[in-house]
Amino acid sequence: MLPRPRFAVLLLLPLVFAPPAAGQVFDQGKVQTREFRSPAMAAQAAHGLESENIFGLTLGSDVDPAGSKSAALEVGGRIGTRGGRYAAFGAKLEFAFGVTDHFAAAVSLLGGWRNSSNVPGQADLNALAFDGVGAELRWRFLERGPSPVGVTLHIEPSLRRIDERSGETGFGWAAENRLIVDGALVPDRLFVAANLIYDVEAFRPKGSPQEQASTGGVSSAMAWQVRPGLLFGADIRYLRAHEGLALDRFRGWAVFAGPTLFWHFAESAWLSASYAFQLAGREQGVANTFDLGNFPRQMLKFKIGMEF
């Protein structure tokens, strides 16, 4: 006879209070797995990765689809300079949205922490500050998938009240521009990307004339998907620093290289981390193995994002 409905629910109490598994009732045994026989299904199962952030410091070409929304926090670090002690960390809180399937935009708040002492030409500093606001515009000309490679123009302008390198207050603007090409060397396993870099910045410290600088260069990265959603890779970049906005007077060059990590750790959340150190460089007019006047000794980037 079944218990009366009023009391029947009491039968479920053991489910609530049952101790968690001390010995399993059902023994699955060791589960062996296999790959898909169908290449199309294998490709689908191996994640259709969004490539924008999988390469670390180098950017990928994928663009958020129309109607999509995402938020990300990015922390970039520059450590080490010529003389003294120097570390600067910039933070960017970004909200991105897909306008069309091939055009996405983002707005961001910028902040930073700088700690420097005994750096030639710079006042000692240890400050956390709100730096300014930024935006990001991404146009995709060729879509990865339908085409063997993806090609995207990335423009990232910002308005700043603090000089990113020296920490001086004033007013300036900057734009990080990339022409991005990427693709998969081994479908859904090995990805490669290259960026053509052209960064410009102009900053007028309080009581001083405006300073203008630009950086040109190329970067290349590869990322290997070791398991779905987890990629390890490497990034290498060659950068040339110039005075003036149009790559006018050459000031030095540097080559950076380092490892990258991308992990899609939850259904809608991912993180990317990368580290690069200066392998070689030369500052114009300075006899040194590295260019530590225009570039840091080490660069870090950590970004965590969530899709809505």
């Binding site: 598994a21 169908s38 199962a45 994640h47 259709g48 959603g229 750790f265």
Partner: protein, 304 residues
Amino acid sequence: MILYRRTILGGLLALPVLSRPQAAEPKRVVASFSILADMVKQVGEDRVAVRALAGPDQELHGFEPRPSDLQAVAQADVMVINGLGLEGWADRIAKAAGFRGTAVVASRGVKALKTGHNHGRGQSHDHGAFDPHAWQDVANAKLYVANIRDGLAAADPANATAHGAAADRYLARLDALDTEIRALLAPIPRERRRIITSHDAFAYFADAYGVDMLAVAGAWRDSEPSARELTALIAQVKRQNIRALFLENAGSGTALRTLASEVGATIGGRLYADALSGPDGPANSYIAMMRHNAGIMAAALKEQ
């Protein structure tokens, strides 16, 4: 004396009845869902009394046990689950009910596909370690049947031979089913075998029978996809000109209807993934379900 004679006569008349072998009580078997219950019935025939915790047309992913389920498990001689993480509640319910019978994991020995299916570029989800819908490949279903046969034989050694013979007959029917599905899909060129479903439950079918399947929702998600996921999927469907869209019997399919309306496609029918239909439906057994699914897929793909 008369009474004594009547007693003897009555006793003699009753003798044939008493000496006739008693029909054994069928073993009580609880299966976690209707597809497994059908397989158990095919192997155990009238030697088993089977109850499915999640019955026909009932979504298993969000299954909540009722008091009557707990009672059924407590009284069961055999409990059969799929495994591969599908019934996360199984150990808990068996312990809570004090289940002392034979525990059978039907998928034991199956080479599982890993999860992590995406739903359009950029949409990646981590659903757990394994895709549990292994029965969607008939070759795996044959392993299920062997495990069920062994479980029933262990619980009821007296009928082990009968269970074995019934399993052999059923396995032969499954071989024929596998051949039939391949024959149904064979006339369709491989590059046209692309299907969208409302539930990511057909990866084993897709891989076994050479059909590419995209799903609107992931294997473990009860929720509908986000606007971002749907947008990417719409773009992919348009790009690849996929016209065969199918609902699944359990689940709402709201997103699939949105997708169909966005790309101007009609929904080709209802596929059965995790649950059989009722007795009057087109998928009232595992074999009928697989035949139905393959049949409507083939029909829709031929019309493209």
